[in-house]
Protein backbone atom coordinates (compact mmCIF):
# COMPACT_ATOMS: atom_id res chain seq x y z
CA UNK A 1 0.00 0.00 0.00
CA UNK A 2 1.11 3.51 -0.77
CA UNK A 3 0.72 6.31 1.78
CA UNK A 4 0.37 9.91 0.65
CA UNK A 5 1.36 12.67 3.10
CA UNK A 6 0.75 16.34 2.32
CA UNK A 7 3.16 18.75 4.07
CA UNK A 8 3.03 22.53 4.40
CA UNK A 9 5.82 25.07 4.77
CA UNK A 10 4.86 27.46 7.58
CA UNK A 11 6.48 29.97 9.91
CA UNK A 12 8.45 28.01 12.52
CA UNK A 13 6.41 27.48 15.68
CA UNK A 14 9.05 29.22 17.81
CA UNK A 15 8.89 32.47 15.84
CA UNK A 16 6.91 35.35 17.28
CA UNK A 17 5.05 36.59 14.21
CA UNK A 18 4.66 40.28 13.41
CA UNK A 19 1.59 41.81 11.87
CA UNK A 20 2.43 44.29 9.08
CA UNK A 21 1.74 47.89 10.09
CA UNK A 22 -0.57 48.48 7.10
CA UNK A 23 -2.84 45.60 8.12
CA UNK A 24 -2.14 43.70 4.90
CA UNK A 25 -0.96 40.52 6.56
CA UNK A 26 1.80 38.88 8.57
CA UNK A 27 5.47 39.66 7.92
CA UNK A 28 6.97 36.60 6.19
CA UNK A 29 10.21 38.11 4.80
CA UNK A 30 13.36 36.76 6.49
CA UNK A 31 11.36 34.63 8.92
CA UNK A 32 12.46 31.09 9.77
CA UNK A 33 10.19 28.58 8.04
CA UNK A 34 9.70 24.91 8.93
CA UNK A 35 7.44 21.99 8.26
CA UNK A 36 4.05 22.37 9.96
CA UNK A 37 4.43 20.38 13.25
CA UNK A 38 1.31 18.28 12.64
CA UNK A 39 2.68 17.34 9.19
CA UNK A 40 5.91 16.10 10.81
CA UNK A 41 3.73 13.80 12.89
CA UNK A 42 2.00 12.62 9.68
CA UNK A 43 5.32 11.86 7.96
CA UNK A 44 6.54 10.01 11.06
CA UNK A 45 3.37 7.89 11.22
CA UNK A 46 3.63 6.98 7.54
CA UNK A 47 7.28 5.97 8.02
CA UNK A 48 6.42 3.84 11.05
CA UNK A 49 3.70 2.06 9.06
CA UNK A 50 6.22 1.41 6.29
CA UNK A 51 8.84 0.18 8.77
CA UNK A 52 6.22 -2.16 10.26
CA UNK A 53 5.71 -3.66 6.79
CA UNK A 54 2.20 -2.23 6.44
CA UNK A 55 3.05 0.18 3.64
CA UNK A 56 5.31 -0.10 0.61
CA UNK A 57 5.93 3.52 -0.27
CA UNK A 58 5.60 6.95 1.34
CA UNK A 59 4.99 9.85 -1.06
CA UNK A 60 5.03 13.42 0.25
CA UNK A 61 3.39 16.34 -1.51
CA UNK A 62 3.48 20.07 -0.90
CA UNK A 63 1.56 22.95 -2.46
CA UNK A 64 3.43 26.22 -2.21
CA UNK A 65 6.30 28.37 -3.46
CA UNK A 66 9.54 26.99 -4.92
CA UNK A 67 11.03 27.05 -1.42
CA UNK A 68 8.53 24.43 -0.28
CA UNK A 69 11.04 22.07 -1.88
CA UNK A 70 13.07 22.47 1.34
CA UNK A 71 10.11 21.19 3.35
CA UNK A 72 9.76 18.22 1.01
CA UNK A 73 13.52 17.52 1.31
CA UNK A 74 13.09 17.48 5.09
CA UNK A 75 10.39 14.84 4.72
CA UNK A 76 12.61 12.88 2.33
CA UNK A 77 15.46 13.12 4.86
CA UNK A 78 13.16 11.71 7.53
CA UNK A 79 12.67 8.72 5.20
CA UNK A 80 9.91 9.40 2.67
CA UNK A 81 10.57 7.82 -0.73
CA UNK A 82 9.40 10.39 -3.22
CA UNK A 83 8.09 13.95 -3.37
CA UNK A 84 5.73 16.02 -5.50
CA UNK A 85 5.87 19.82 -5.43
CA UNK A 86 2.84 21.66 -6.76
CA UNK A 87 4.35 25.06 -7.29
CA UNK A 88 2.38 28.27 -6.82
CA UNK A 89 3.10 31.65 -5.26
CA UNK A 90 -0.58 32.25 -4.51
CA UNK A 91 -2.06 31.73 -1.08
CA UNK A 92 -4.14 28.61 -1.62
CA UNK A 93 -7.21 28.10 0.58
CA UNK A 94 -7.98 24.69 2.11
CA UNK A 95 -10.77 23.91 -0.40
CA UNK A 96 -8.42 24.45 -3.36
CA UNK A 97 -5.65 22.53 -1.57
CA UNK A 98 -8.09 19.64 -1.12
CA UNK A 99 -9.04 19.78 -4.82
CA UNK A 100 -5.38 19.64 -5.88
CA UNK A 101 -4.69 16.79 -3.44
CA UNK A 102 -7.68 14.93 -4.86
CA UNK A 103 -5.95 15.15 -8.24
CA UNK A 104 -2.70 13.87 -6.74
CA UNK A 105 -4.58 11.03 -5.02
CA UNK A 106 -6.25 10.02 -8.28
CA UNK A 107 -2.85 9.88 -9.97
CA UNK A 108 -1.04 8.12 -7.10
CA UNK A 109 -3.85 5.83 -5.86
CA UNK A 110 -2.75 5.70 -2.21
CA UNK A 111 -4.46 3.37 0.26
CA UNK A 112 -4.17 5.97 3.00
CA UNK A 113 -3.63 9.74 3.12
CA UNK A 114 -2.27 11.11 6.40
CA UNK A 115 -2.82 14.85 6.85
CA UNK A 116 -1.86 17.14 9.76
CA UNK A 117 -5.03 18.19 11.56
CA UNK A 118 -4.27 21.85 11.00
CA UNK A 119 -1.54 24.19 9.80
CA UNK A 120 -0.26 26.52 12.49
CA UNK A 121 -0.39 29.55 10.18
CA UNK A 122 -4.04 29.85 9.11
CA UNK A 123 -5.33 27.44 11.80
CA UNK A 124 -8.14 26.32 9.49
CA UNK A 125 -8.38 22.62 10.37
CA UNK A 126 -10.21 21.83 7.13
CA UNK A 127 -8.00 20.22 4.48
CA UNK A 128 -8.18 16.56 5.56
CA UNK A 129 -11.95 16.59 6.02
CA UNK A 130 -12.45 18.38 2.69
CA UNK A 131 -10.16 15.98 0.85
CA UNK A 132 -11.99 13.01 2.31
CA UNK A 133 -15.35 14.51 1.23
CA UNK A 134 -14.17 15.21 -2.33
CA UNK A 135 -12.81 11.67 -2.70
CA UNK A 136 -15.95 10.17 -1.12
CA UNK A 137 -13.74 8.37 1.39
CA UNK A 138 -14.05 7.84 5.13
CA UNK A 139 -12.31 10.24 7.49
CA UNK A 140 -10.62 9.66 10.82
CA UNK A 141 -9.70 13.06 12.24
CA UNK A 142 -7.52 14.08 15.21
CA UNK A 143 -5.93 10.62 15.45
CA UNK A 144 -3.88 9.58 18.45
CA UNK A 145 -3.62 5.96 17.26
CA UNK A 146 -3.89 4.26 13.86
CA UNK A 147 -4.16 0.48 13.49
CA UNK A 148 -4.19 -0.72 9.90
CA UNK A 149 -6.25 -3.84 9.24
CA UNK A 150 -7.34 -5.63 6.10
CA UNK A 151 -9.36 -3.14 4.06
CA UNK A 152 -10.08 -1.04 7.13
CA UNK A 153 -8.33 0.92 9.85
CA UNK A 154 -9.09 1.49 13.49
CA UNK A 155 -8.52 5.10 14.45
CA UNK A 156 -8.53 6.42 18.00
CA UNK A 157 -9.55 10.07 17.93
CA UNK A 158 -8.94 12.90 20.39
CA UNK A 159 -12.40 14.30 21.09
CA UNK A 160 -13.61 16.79 23.70
CA UNK A 161 -13.65 14.89 26.95
CA UNK A 162 -11.60 11.87 25.94
CA UNK A 163 -11.06 9.41 23.12
CA UNK A 164 -13.33 7.91 20.49
CA UNK A 165 -12.40 4.85 18.47
CA UNK A 166 -13.89 4.34 15.04
CA UNK A 167 -13.33 1.85 12.25
CA UNK A 168 -13.04 3.31 8.77
CA UNK A 169 -13.01 1.65 5.36
CA UNK A 170 -9.83 2.05 3.32
CA UNK A 171 -8.85 4.03 1.35
CA UNK A 172 -9.31 6.81 3.87
CA UNK A 173 -8.03 10.15 5.06
CA UNK A 174 -6.64 10.32 8.59
CA UNK A 175 -5.65 13.60 10.27
CA UNK A 176 -3.02 13.59 12.99
CA UNK A 177 -3.12 14.99 16.51
CA UNK A 178 -0.22 15.66 18.86
CA UNK A 179 -0.20 12.42 20.80
CA UNK A 180 0.10 10.14 17.78
CA UNK A 181 3.90 9.97 17.89
CA UNK A 182 7.10 11.92 18.35
CA UNK A 183 8.65 12.73 14.99
CA UNK A 184 12.27 11.71 14.41
CA UNK A 185 15.07 14.06 13.48
CA UNK A 186 16.75 13.51 10.14
CA UNK A 187 20.38 12.37 10.43
CA UNK A 188 23.10 14.14 8.45
CA UNK A 189 23.72 11.18 6.09
CA UNK A 190 19.97 10.99 5.43
CA UNK A 191 19.83 14.72 4.72
CA UNK A 192 22.57 14.19 2.11
CA UNK A 193 20.76 11.19 0.64
CA UNK A 194 17.48 13.13 0.48
CA UNK A 195 19.02 15.53 -2.02
CA UNK A 196 19.10 12.73 -4.58
CA UNK A 197 15.60 11.37 -3.99
CA UNK A 198 13.07 11.97 -6.79
CA UNK A 199 11.02 15.18 -6.65
CA UNK A 200 8.41 15.93 -9.35
CA UNK A 201 7.22 19.45 -10.03
CA UNK A 202 3.71 20.31 -11.13
CA UNK A 203 1.30 23.26 -11.01
CA UNK A 204 -2.32 23.62 -9.79
CA UNK A 205 -3.26 23.99 -13.48
CA UNK A 206 -2.02 20.44 -14.13
CA UNK A 207 -4.92 19.29 -11.97
CA UNK A 208 -7.40 21.76 -13.48
CA UNK A 209 -7.86 23.50 -10.15
CA UNK A 210 -8.73 27.20 -9.90
CA UNK A 211 -7.00 28.56 -6.79
CA UNK A 212 -8.82 31.93 -6.75
CA UNK A 213 -9.69 32.66 -3.11
CA UNK A 214 -13.28 32.43 -1.90
CA UNK A 215 -12.54 34.44 1.21
CA UNK A 216 -11.52 38.06 0.91
CA UNK A 217 -9.08 39.04 3.64
CA UNK A 218 -10.09 42.61 4.53
CA UNK A 219 -7.63 43.21 7.32
CA UNK A 220 -5.05 41.54 9.54
CA UNK A 221 -4.46 43.12 12.92
CA UNK A 222 -2.72 42.55 16.23
CA UNK A 223 -4.95 41.03 18.88
CA UNK A 224 -5.92 43.45 21.60
CA UNK A 225 -2.87 43.15 23.82
CA UNK A 226 -2.72 42.32 27.49
CA UNK A 227 -0.91 44.59 29.85
CA UNK A 228 1.09 43.38 32.78
CA UNK A 229 -0.99 43.65 35.92
CA UNK A 230 0.19 43.97 39.48
CA UNK A 231 2.61 41.95 41.58
CA UNK A 232 1.18 40.66 44.82
CA UNK A 233 3.36 40.05 47.84
CA UNK A 234 1.79 36.95 49.30
CA UNK A 235 -0.57 34.07 48.67
CA UNK A 236 -3.07 35.67 51.06
CA UNK A 237 -3.06 38.89 49.04
CA UNK A 238 -3.46 36.90 45.82
CA UNK A 239 -6.52 35.03 47.10
CA UNK A 240 -8.02 38.26 48.43
CA UNK A 241 -7.56 40.03 45.07
CA UNK A 242 -8.99 37.09 43.10
CA UNK A 243 -12.08 37.13 45.33
CA UNK A 244 -12.80 40.82 45.71
CA UNK A 245 -11.17 42.50 42.72
CA UNK A 246 -11.29 39.93 39.91
CA UNK A 247 -14.36 38.09 41.19
CA UNK A 248 -13.20 34.76 39.78
CA UNK A 249 -13.12 32.72 42.99
Amino acid sequence: MKILVPVKRVVDYNVKIRVKADGSGVELANVKMSMNPFDEISVEEALRLKEAGKAAEVVVVSIGPAKAEETLRTALAMGADRAVLIETDDAVEPLAVAKILKGVAEAEQPGLIIVGKQAIDDDSNQTGQMLSALLGWAQGTFASKIELGDGSAKVTREVDGGLQTIEIKLPAVVTTDLRLNEPRYASLPNIMKAKKKPLDKKTPGDFGVDTAPRLKVLKTEEPSGRKAGVKVKSVAELVEKLKSEAGVL
Binding site: E93, D121, D123, Q139, E158, V159, L178
Partner: protein, 309 residues
Amino acid sequence: MAILLLADHDNAHLSDQTAKALTAATKIGSDVHILVAGAGARAAAEQAAKLAGASKVLVAEDASLENNLAEPLAALIVSLAGSYDTIVAAATSVGKNVLPRVAALLDVAQVSEIVEVVAPDTFKRPIYAGNAIQTVQSTDAKKVITVRTASFAAASEGGSAAIETVAAAADPGLSTHVGDALSSSDRPELTSAKIIISGGRALGSAEKFKEVILPVADKLGAAVGASRAAVDAGYAPNDWQVGQTGKVVAPQLYIACGISGAIQHLAGMKDSKVIVAINKDEEAPIFQVADYGLVADLFEALPELEKAL
Protein backbone atom coordinates in the same frame (compact mmCIF):
# COMPACT_ATOMS: atom_id res chain seq x y z
CA MET B 1 -32.81 32.86 4.30
CA ALA B 2 -32.49 30.93 7.52
CA ILE B 3 -29.43 29.75 9.44
CA LEU B 4 -28.86 26.11 10.38
CA LEU B 5 -27.01 25.56 13.66
CA LEU B 6 -25.67 22.07 14.36
CA ALA B 7 -26.24 21.19 18.02
CA ASP B 8 -23.51 19.60 20.11
CA HIS B 9 -24.98 16.97 22.42
CA ASP B 10 -24.67 13.41 23.68
CA ASN B 11 -28.35 12.59 22.95
CA ALA B 12 -29.33 13.04 26.61
CA HIS B 13 -27.80 16.48 27.18
CA LEU B 14 -27.30 19.52 25.04
CA SER B 15 -23.79 20.94 25.41
CA ASP B 16 -23.49 24.54 26.62
CA GLN B 17 -21.32 25.10 23.54
CA THR B 18 -24.53 25.13 21.47
CA ALA B 19 -26.00 28.02 23.49
CA LYS B 20 -22.83 30.01 22.83
CA ALA B 21 -22.76 29.20 19.11
CA LEU B 22 -26.44 30.25 18.99
CA THR B 23 -25.44 33.73 20.16
CA ALA B 24 -23.01 33.96 17.24
CA ALA B 25 -25.69 32.63 14.84
CA THR B 26 -28.25 35.24 15.94
CA LYS B 27 -25.72 37.96 15.17
CA ILE B 28 -25.63 36.70 11.58
CA GLY B 29 -29.41 36.51 11.14
CA SER B 30 -32.64 36.18 13.09
CA ASP B 31 -34.14 32.94 11.80
CA VAL B 32 -31.99 30.22 13.40
CA HIS B 33 -32.95 26.55 13.24
CA ILE B 34 -31.08 24.16 15.54
CA LEU B 35 -30.39 20.69 14.14
CA VAL B 36 -30.21 17.91 16.71
CA ALA B 37 -28.93 14.78 14.95
CA GLY B 38 -28.63 11.63 17.01
CA ALA B 39 -30.44 8.53 18.24
CA GLY B 40 -32.83 8.85 21.15
CA ALA B 41 -32.01 12.54 21.11
CA ARG B 42 -35.44 13.87 22.04
CA ALA B 43 -34.15 15.12 25.41
CA ALA B 44 -31.38 17.14 23.78
CA ALA B 45 -33.91 18.54 21.26
CA GLU B 46 -36.22 19.65 24.07
CA GLN B 47 -33.33 21.47 25.75
CA ALA B 48 -32.47 23.15 22.43
CA ALA B 49 -36.09 24.30 22.01
CA LYS B 50 -35.83 26.22 25.28
CA LEU B 51 -32.95 28.40 24.09
CA ALA B 52 -34.01 31.97 23.45
CA GLY B 53 -33.29 32.92 19.85
CA ALA B 54 -33.97 29.59 18.15
CA SER B 55 -37.00 29.75 15.87
CA LYS B 56 -37.22 26.01 15.22
CA VAL B 57 -35.55 22.76 16.26
CA LEU B 58 -35.07 19.97 13.74
CA VAL B 59 -34.54 16.44 15.05
CA ALA B 60 -33.08 13.70 12.90
CA GLU B 61 -32.87 10.32 14.60
CA ASP B 62 -31.15 7.28 13.17
CA ALA B 63 -28.70 4.66 14.45
CA SER B 64 -26.09 6.05 12.03
CA LEU B 65 -26.29 9.44 13.77
CA GLU B 66 -25.82 8.17 17.33
CA ASN B 67 -22.08 8.83 17.59
CA ASN B 68 -21.54 11.92 15.44
CA LEU B 69 -19.74 9.99 12.68
CA ALA B 70 -18.69 12.54 10.07
CA GLU B 71 -19.99 10.87 6.91
CA PRO B 72 -23.69 10.31 7.79
CA LEU B 73 -23.86 13.61 9.70
CA ALA B 74 -22.39 15.55 6.76
CA ALA B 75 -24.81 13.80 4.38
CA LEU B 76 -27.74 14.88 6.60
CA ILE B 77 -26.60 18.51 6.76
CA VAL B 78 -26.03 18.63 2.99
CA SER B 79 -29.54 17.20 2.43
CA LEU B 80 -30.98 20.11 4.44
CA ALA B 81 -28.60 22.79 3.09
CA GLY B 82 -30.87 23.91 0.23
CA SER B 83 -33.11 25.81 2.66
CA TYR B 84 -30.28 27.66 4.38
CA ASP B 85 -27.74 30.25 3.36
CA THR B 86 -25.56 29.85 6.46
CA ILE B 87 -24.54 26.71 8.32
CA VAL B 88 -22.98 27.13 11.75
CA ALA B 89 -21.49 24.85 14.41
CA ALA B 90 -19.50 25.35 17.58
CA ALA B 91 -15.81 24.62 16.99
CA THR B 92 -15.95 21.50 19.17
CA SER B 93 -14.47 18.16 18.14
CA VAL B 94 -17.81 17.38 16.44
CA GLY B 95 -18.13 20.69 14.61
CA LYS B 96 -14.49 20.72 13.53
CA ASN B 97 -14.82 17.14 12.26
CA VAL B 98 -17.98 17.46 10.21
CA LEU B 99 -18.32 21.04 8.96
CA PRO B 100 -15.33 21.09 6.56
CA ARG B 101 -16.77 17.91 5.03
CA VAL B 102 -20.08 19.74 4.55
CA ALA B 103 -18.31 22.77 3.06
CA ALA B 104 -16.40 20.65 0.53
CA LEU B 105 -19.57 18.77 -0.48
CA LEU B 106 -21.27 22.16 -1.06
CA ASP B 107 -18.13 23.49 -2.83
CA VAL B 108 -17.78 26.47 -0.50
CA ALA B 109 -14.99 27.74 1.72
CA GLN B 110 -15.34 27.37 5.47
CA VAL B 111 -14.63 30.20 7.88
CA SER B 112 -13.10 28.48 10.93
CA GLU B 113 -13.38 29.53 14.57
CA ILE B 114 -14.88 32.99 14.27
CA VAL B 115 -14.53 35.23 17.33
CA GLU B 116 -16.68 38.13 16.09
CA VAL B 117 -19.49 38.68 13.58
CA VAL B 118 -18.74 41.93 11.74
CA ALA B 119 -21.51 41.53 9.14
CA PRO B 120 -23.56 38.51 7.95
CA ASP B 121 -20.75 37.68 5.48
CA THR B 122 -17.78 39.16 7.37
CA PHE B 123 -16.08 37.68 10.40
CA LYS B 124 -13.02 38.03 12.60
CA ARG B 125 -10.98 34.92 13.23
CA PRO B 126 -7.64 34.25 14.92
CA ILE B 127 -4.68 33.01 12.89
CA TYR B 128 -1.21 32.00 14.11
CA ALA B 129 -2.76 30.68 17.33
CA GLY B 130 -4.33 34.05 18.08
CA ASN B 131 -1.20 36.14 17.48
CA ALA B 132 -3.05 37.90 14.66
CA ILE B 133 -6.72 38.50 13.97
CA GLN B 134 -7.95 38.36 10.41
CA THR B 135 -11.16 39.95 9.13
CA VAL B 136 -12.49 37.84 6.25
CA GLN B 137 -15.44 38.26 3.93
CA SER B 138 -16.99 35.18 2.40
CA THR B 139 -17.82 35.47 -1.30
CA ASP B 140 -19.67 32.13 -1.47
CA ALA B 141 -23.45 32.04 -1.80
CA LYS B 142 -23.61 29.65 1.15
CA LYS B 143 -21.52 30.23 4.25
CA VAL B 144 -20.14 27.47 6.45
CA ILE B 145 -18.84 28.69 9.79
CA THR B 146 -17.46 27.29 13.03
CA VAL B 147 -17.57 29.40 16.17
CA ARG B 148 -14.92 29.74 18.89
CA THR B 149 -17.40 29.57 21.74
CA ALA B 150 -15.12 31.20 24.33
CA SER B 151 -15.78 34.48 22.51
CA PHE B 152 -19.58 34.43 22.81
CA ALA B 153 -21.89 34.46 25.85
CA ALA B 154 -24.41 31.62 26.10
CA ALA B 155 -27.95 32.33 24.85
CA SER B 156 -30.36 32.35 27.74
CA GLU B 157 -33.26 29.97 28.26
CA GLY B 158 -36.87 31.03 27.96
CA GLY B 159 -37.62 30.15 24.35
CA SER B 160 -40.19 27.63 23.19
CA ALA B 161 -39.30 26.72 19.62
CA ALA B 162 -41.33 24.10 17.77
CA ILE B 163 -39.65 20.73 17.32
CA GLU B 164 -39.89 19.20 13.84
CA THR B 165 -38.73 15.76 12.76
CA VAL B 166 -36.56 15.46 9.66
CA ALA B 167 -35.38 12.29 7.93
CA ALA B 168 -31.78 11.12 8.18
CA ALA B 169 -29.87 10.89 4.91
CA ALA B 170 -28.71 7.51 3.59
CA ASP B 171 -25.67 6.35 5.57
CA PRO B 172 -22.65 6.27 3.24
CA GLY B 173 -21.50 3.26 5.30
CA LEU B 174 -17.84 4.27 5.39
CA SER B 175 -17.26 4.17 9.14
CA THR B 176 -18.50 2.51 12.30
CA HIS B 177 -18.25 3.47 15.95
CA VAL B 178 -16.12 1.11 18.05
CA GLY B 179 -16.09 2.72 21.47
CA ASP B 180 -15.52 5.77 23.62
CA ALA B 181 -13.00 6.19 26.41
CA LEU B 182 -14.12 9.42 27.98
CA SER B 183 -11.97 10.84 30.75
CA SER B 184 -13.21 9.36 33.98
CA SER B 185 -11.58 12.19 35.90
CA ASP B 186 -13.87 14.33 38.01
CA ARG B 187 -11.97 17.33 36.74
CA PRO B 188 -13.48 19.45 33.98
CA GLU B 189 -11.94 19.18 30.54
CA LEU B 190 -9.40 21.80 29.53
CA THR B 191 -11.28 23.43 26.68
CA SER B 192 -14.46 24.10 28.66
CA ALA B 193 -13.06 24.58 32.18
CA LYS B 194 -13.79 27.83 34.03
CA ILE B 195 -10.53 27.57 35.98
CA ILE B 196 -7.25 26.04 34.79
CA ILE B 197 -4.07 25.55 36.78
CA SER B 198 -1.00 24.76 34.68
CA GLY B 199 2.50 23.66 35.58
CA GLY B 200 5.79 24.19 33.80
CA ARG B 201 9.28 22.77 33.80
CA ALA B 202 10.03 24.34 37.19
CA LEU B 203 7.97 21.55 38.79
CA GLY B 204 11.02 19.36 38.25
CA SER B 205 9.37 15.92 38.08
CA ALA B 206 6.10 14.11 37.39
CA GLU B 207 5.82 13.34 41.14
CA LYS B 208 6.24 16.96 42.17
CA PHE B 209 3.78 18.04 39.46
CA LYS B 210 1.15 15.75 40.97
CA GLU B 211 2.06 16.62 44.53
CA VAL B 212 1.73 20.40 44.28
CA ILE B 213 -0.57 21.10 41.31
CA LEU B 214 -3.31 18.51 41.74
CA PRO B 215 -4.42 19.40 45.32
CA VAL B 216 -4.94 23.03 44.26
CA ALA B 217 -6.81 21.86 41.14
CA ASP B 218 -9.08 19.68 43.29
CA LYS B 219 -9.78 22.52 45.69
CA LEU B 220 -10.69 24.88 42.81
CA GLY B 221 -12.54 22.31 40.70
CA ALA B 222 -10.05 23.29 38.02
CA ALA B 223 -8.76 21.53 34.93
CA VAL B 224 -5.02 20.83 34.84
CA GLY B 225 -2.77 22.07 32.05
CA ALA B 226 0.94 22.00 31.33
CA SER B 227 3.48 23.84 29.23
CA ARG B 228 5.12 22.10 26.30
CA ALA B 229 8.38 22.08 28.27
CA ALA B 230 6.71 20.15 31.10
CA VAL B 231 5.15 17.71 28.63
CA ASP B 232 8.43 17.22 26.76
CA ALA B 233 10.18 16.57 30.08
CA GLY B 234 7.60 13.88 30.86
CA TYR B 235 6.09 15.65 33.88
CA ALA B 236 2.59 15.73 32.41
CA PRO B 237 0.70 13.84 29.68
CA ASN B 238 0.52 15.35 26.21
CA ASP B 239 -3.23 15.94 26.33
CA TRP B 240 -2.68 18.45 29.14
CA GLN B 241 -0.58 20.64 26.88
CA VAL B 242 -1.74 24.24 26.53
CA GLY B 243 -0.18 26.21 23.70
CA GLN B 244 0.11 26.68 19.99
CA THR B 245 0.65 22.98 19.37
CA GLY B 246 -1.62 21.90 22.24
CA LYS B 247 -4.98 23.19 23.36
CA VAL B 248 -6.09 26.80 23.07
CA VAL B 249 -8.02 27.75 26.19
CA ALA B 250 -9.82 30.83 27.50
CA PRO B 251 -11.03 30.15 31.04
CA GLN B 252 -12.21 32.72 33.58
CA LEU B 253 -9.05 32.11 35.62
CA TYR B 254 -5.72 30.70 34.43
CA ILE B 255 -3.03 30.02 37.02
CA ALA B 256 0.43 29.49 35.48
CA CYS B 257 2.84 27.87 37.93
CA GLY B 258 6.54 27.71 37.13
CA ILE B 259 5.85 28.56 33.49
CA SER B 260 8.30 31.03 31.96
CA GLY B 261 5.87 32.16 29.26
CA ALA B 262 7.29 31.00 25.91
CA ILE B 263 5.44 32.43 22.87
CA GLN B 264 4.09 29.02 22.10
CA HIS B 265 2.47 28.73 25.55
CA LEU B 266 1.14 32.30 25.61
CA ALA B 267 -0.57 31.64 22.28
CA GLY B 268 -2.68 28.98 23.99
CA MET B 269 -3.86 30.89 27.05
CA LYS B 270 -3.62 34.66 26.58
CA ASP B 271 -7.37 35.03 25.97
CA SER B 272 -8.07 33.88 29.54
CA LYS B 273 -10.10 36.44 31.49
CA VAL B 274 -7.77 36.60 34.47
CA ILE B 275 -4.20 35.29 34.43
CA VAL B 276 -2.21 34.56 37.57
CA ALA B 277 1.49 33.77 37.34
CA ILE B 278 3.49 32.21 40.14
CA ASN B 279 7.19 32.03 39.34
CA LYS B 280 10.49 32.28 41.19
CA ASP B 281 12.07 34.31 38.38
CA GLU B 282 10.71 37.83 38.51
CA GLU B 283 11.99 38.47 34.97
CA ALA B 284 9.90 35.63 33.48
CA PRO B 285 7.93 36.83 30.40
CA ILE B 286 4.75 35.28 31.84
CA PHE B 287 4.52 38.29 34.21
CA GLN B 288 4.06 40.57 31.18
CA VAL B 289 0.64 39.05 30.49
CA ALA B 290 -0.39 38.22 34.06
CA ASP B 291 -3.03 40.27 35.85
CA TYR B 292 -1.63 39.10 39.16
CA GLY B 293 1.97 38.03 39.58
CA LEU B 294 3.49 36.37 42.62
CA VAL B 295 7.26 35.99 42.76
CA ALA B 296 7.63 32.95 44.98
CA ASP B 297 8.88 29.40 45.31
CA LEU B 298 6.16 27.12 43.94
CA PHE B 299 6.75 24.42 46.47
CA GLU B 300 5.90 26.84 49.27
CA ALA B 301 3.29 29.01 47.50
CA LEU B 302 1.10 26.23 46.11
CA PRO B 303 0.54 24.32 49.38
CA GLU B 304 -0.16 27.67 51.00
CA LEU B 305 -2.64 28.51 48.22
CA GLU B 306 -4.38 25.17 48.70
CA LYS B 307 -4.86 25.91 52.39
CA ALA B 308 -6.05 29.46 51.73
CA LEU B 309 -8.84 28.40 49.35
